[in-house]
Symmetry: C2
Subunit: 105 residues, 2 copies
DNA sequence: TTTAAAGTTCTATGATAATCGAACAATAGA
DNA sequence: TCTATTGTTCGATTATCATAGAACTTTAAA
């Protein structure tokens, strides 16, 4: 199995994180991951093709927002909450709180 | 003089704000505006052509991040801090604090 | 060893965007 | 009124991206 690239915490770029979270689909993915905890790609209900989910997962992973680990044929996604808090204190919570307070659910 | 469009506070979209701030040039613009207060386009030192600055100003304005007012031949830009705080409490500060703490200056 | 399940990668497409230079518009000042 | 200043808009270019379907890979299960 090919190892998946995850940036080191110190290498996570603010603009990359903001970009990753500026897409409504990806924002919804991250919101659901925080609400429900670690989930496989398929368990996150999304109105798009699975190849598109895969693409978004990769964008979030390469930006340093989520972690992906392999479990059987599944890929389990989770938010890198501690790493993000270390790198950008308060940022993730401010974004997801804003998301939850508005009508973008 | 053509009136410039500014979205109402309630119409500001989170994903649009995140997208607007995900570009390094625009992030720098907003950082400098908060550091120095209201400034004209030309007073914000940027390593890009003035037509490009104008384009970025428009993106920030239409996303609801900045306000633009006319003063003579100048356009004065300022951050919509109160509106953003009303709409997305803590968001702008979390983003700009993150920016200032990292090496992206 | 087949078969099924879960994702990824490839290819293609249509849309959007970052950039610049040139032309244009509006205003202030000489 | 002419001119300089400030910024916008237009046109073109180049690049990136969101999307989907098809083919492929990997693993688990029958």
């Amino acid at each position: 199995m090919k190892p998946l690239f995850h940036p080191d915490t110190a290498d996570i770029q603010l603009s990359s994180v903001l970009y990753a979270l500026s897409d409504p689909v990806r924002l919804m993915m991250v919101h659901k991951l925080r609400q429900n905890g670690e989930r496989s790609c398929g368990d996150i209900e999304l109105p798009i093709a699975k190849s598109t989910v895969s693409h978004h997962s990769r964008t979030l992973r390469e930006a340093g927002v989520i972690r992906t680990r392999t479990h059987g044929t599944q890929r389990l996604l989770s938010i890198r909450e501690e790493d993000l808090e270390t790198r950008f204190p308060g940022l993730l919570n401010a974004i997801l709180s804003s998301y939850e307070e508005t009508d973008e659910l």
